[in-house]
């Protein structure tokens, strides 16, 4: 692990036992997150994105693998046993702006709670700090005295971000944080996220299924399918030359708004089929049941990591 790495994940596994059998939600995932970057984790629903985020948060322990944070902390320990300092440093913003805020509390109380728990400011200065945090995410002081139901969807999400910022974290997991919003609110939230990242030197793990959002705020992208990562690349490179057939299928499915956007979409590949059950994932390459290029070997053996050029990694037999 080198110096600019904040989080290092290796061979991470998380299985759930259900009535249908064992769900291999995360099945051998490795990646590094660099200080100050936005790393996007993308894939269809059920691919294991949220589970990855939740294991990092310590909501449940992994079934295998290692997560090292800031070179010092081993994150396999559950949330409850983590030192307060570590809990403070890693925050998460959830998808649903409606349910993640307590409906009975005023915005000022929602945001002051983490300030007090983590002793960020003296009690007498708490509301001053709340106002400052609201200002940061572009909401006026007047919002302190509103209840969540008096806010629009985008505004709720901005409050959730202010709450996540309150304990001065270095690392924030954004799990579909703008997916439930209208584009007009989404744009506002995205702009705010970029602004505060620059000012506070934050690191983001951006979990999303929206490649338009990825293009706009991330520096690197990972594509996840059925518990495994199949492509990883710097954002520019990723959109210029998407390599994995699954990546190409995702890109070609996006309804675009202009000719220029249309040109980015790969030709000659069409969306077919659905993501199979994670209880019985396909053998070999897990994408082989939907891939137009499947060969014999794809059904038998898991493709290896292939490093194409400057940090562009793809797992597909086409490139082996």
């Amino acid at each position: 692990m080198n110096n600019d790495t904040i989080l290092s994940v290796s061979d991470l596994r998380k299985y759930f036992t259900t009535a249908e059998g064992v769900v291999r939600a995360v099945d051998g995932v490795s990646f590094n997150v660099k200080h100050g970057e936005t790393l996007a984790l993308v894939g269809e629903s059920g691919s294991g994105k949220t589970t990855t985020g939740h294991v990092i948060m310590g909501f449940y322990p992994p079934d295998g693998g290692k997560i090292i944070y800031k070179g010092a902390y081993e994150l396999s320990i559950p949330m409850k046993k983590r030192p307060l300092e570590l809990k403070r440093d890693i925050q998460i913003v959830f998808q649903d702006p409606g349910t993640s805020l307590n409906p009975k509390r005023l915005v000022k109380d929602i945001i002051s709670l983490p300030l007090l728990v983590h002793r960020i400011v003296d009690k007498s200065r708490v509301y001053e700090k709340v106002a400052e945090l609201l200002e940061y995410v572009g909401l006026s002081e007047e919002y302190m005295f509103r209840y969540p139901h008096e806010l629009g969807g985008g505004e709720k999400q901005l409050v959730a971000i202010a709450r996540a910022l309150a304990p001065n974290p270095s690392f924030i997991i954004l799990d579909e944080s703008t997916s439930a919003l209208d584009v007009s609110s989404q744009a506002r939230v995205l702009n705010t996220l970029v602004k505060i990242q620059n000012e506070l030197k934050l690191t983001y793990l951006l979990i999303t299924h929206d490649l338009g959002v990825v293009r706009n705020i991330s520096q690197r992208v990972m594509i996840m399918y059925l518990g495994k990562i199949y492509e990883e690349a710097p954002t520019e490179d990723f959109f210029k030359s998407p390599m994995h057939p699954y990546t190409q299928m995702l890109l070609s499915s996006i309804p675009t708004l202009s000719e220029e956007d249309e040109k980015i979409k790969p030709r000659g590949i069409e969306s077919v089929g659905e993501i199979p059950s994670a209880v019985k994932p396909p053998s070999g390459c897990r994408f082989h049941t939907r891939c137009p290029f499947t060969k014999q070997i794809c059904m038998e053996k898991d493709p290896p990591d292939i490093v194409v050029n400057n940090n562009h990694i793809v797992r597909c037999w086409l490139y082996a």
Binding site: G153, E155, D182, D210, P255, E260
Partner: protein
């Protein structure tokens, strides 16, 4: 002209207050035309579609307005005629398939019911063999593999994409002239969304249907429609041909909406729109966008802008163009 709506007002009443949602909406759909309606969540898109079929919830009332469909005023039709239109002429794909499908009946029971009622309107009481044939045919139409298994399933046993296909199948049974699609792909992955949209597109052409597609996903509307209406807080803000609207938007709301959409070819989204949809108990008396509009002028506050024809195929409702 297949459908023409003028000055439509819709209120939702509660014991304490009245929500004045639709505020004089206009709309028109030609035969074979694919129309899109875009606007933020809470703008009244679903309310508008439900008005067309007169299936508003109990507390929804229409104090004023006209909905002309195929030469008839929907709001003045008797129950018999309305039932006939709902069962045979206009079909609707609802926003949330889980809410629209009945969880305690199998797909077979639900499909048979719809097919049977439609055939009875045509003066024919179908045998169970006919029902089965029709049901299998319609499931094949929406490209559902293994129709027999689907027929035996309860809604919760199907994936989101499969439920959506079942919803489309049901809507198609009743849509011989007009198909209303309310956010037909929300909560689906883009890959499945793409499959569903292509399917709808194909079927609409095959069956020569007129359609109204409602969505806040602009890319989808750009690709699927011929003409677009922009609805904000119960008012139509702008109407134009699809290309014209997306390439030369005139209304500040439309411009902000379009610039907020992330692109694949470039980095940086617009600033978005501050604030939120107004409170319908006490909506702004003039332009309903005034509280959020960066160009707001004095007259916008109290005077509702009229319909201004900016060119042949482009109407905007904004005082900037007075």
């Amino acid at each position: 002209m297949l459908l023409e709506i003028n000055d439509l007002h819709v209120y939702y009443k509660s014991y304490w207050y009245i929500l004045k949602v639709l505020n004089g909406v206009w709309l028109r759909v030609d035969k074979g035309e694919r129309v899109g309606i875009i606007g933020e969540s809470g703008s009244g898109k679903t309310t508008l579609l439900k008005s067309i079929l007169k299936i508003l919830p109990q507390n929804g009332i229409i104090p004023r307005g006209e909905i002309r469909y195929d030469g008839k005023n929907i709001l003045k039709l008797g129950d018999n005629e309305l039932t006939k239109i709902r069962r045979k002429e206009i079909g609707i794909i609802f926003q949330d398939p889980m809410a629209a499908l009945n969880p305690v009946f199998t797909i077979r029971e639900q499909l048979y019911d719809i097919i049977k009622h439609k055939m009875m309107i045509e003066g024919h009481n179908p045998s169970s063999r006919e029902l089965h044939e029709q049901a299998v045919k319609i499931l094949n139409d929406v490209r559902l593999p293994d129709p027999e298994r689907v027929l035996e399933s309860y809604p919760f046993q199907l994936s989101g994409g499969m439920r959506q296909r079942v919803m489309i199948a049901m809507a198609l049974i009743s849509a011989e002239k007009l198909l209303l699609a309310d956010e037909p792909t929300t909560n689906l992955d883009v890959t499945i969304q793409d499959q569903i949209l292509k399917l709808i597109h194909k079927l609409v052409i095959e069956k020569n249907l007129s359609t109204i597609l409602v969505s806040h996903a602009l890319g989808m509307v750009y690709q699927m429609t011929d003409r677009v209406f922009v609805l904000y807080a119960g008012d139509i803000m702008e109407e134009a041909g699809t290309n014209e609207l997306f390439n030369h938007p005139k209304h500040p709301y439309t411009q902000l909406l379009i610039s907020s959409t992330p692109r694949l070819s470039s980095v940086g989204v617009g600033e978005g729109i501050k604030g939120k949809i107004p409170d319908y108990r006490n909506p702004p008396p003039g332009c309903r966008f005034a509280p959020r509009c960066p160009y707001v002028m004095d007259k916008c506050i109290n005077m509702k802008p009229g319909k201004i024809q900016v060119n042949k195929d482009h109407v905007v409702s904004c005082h900037l163009y007075d």
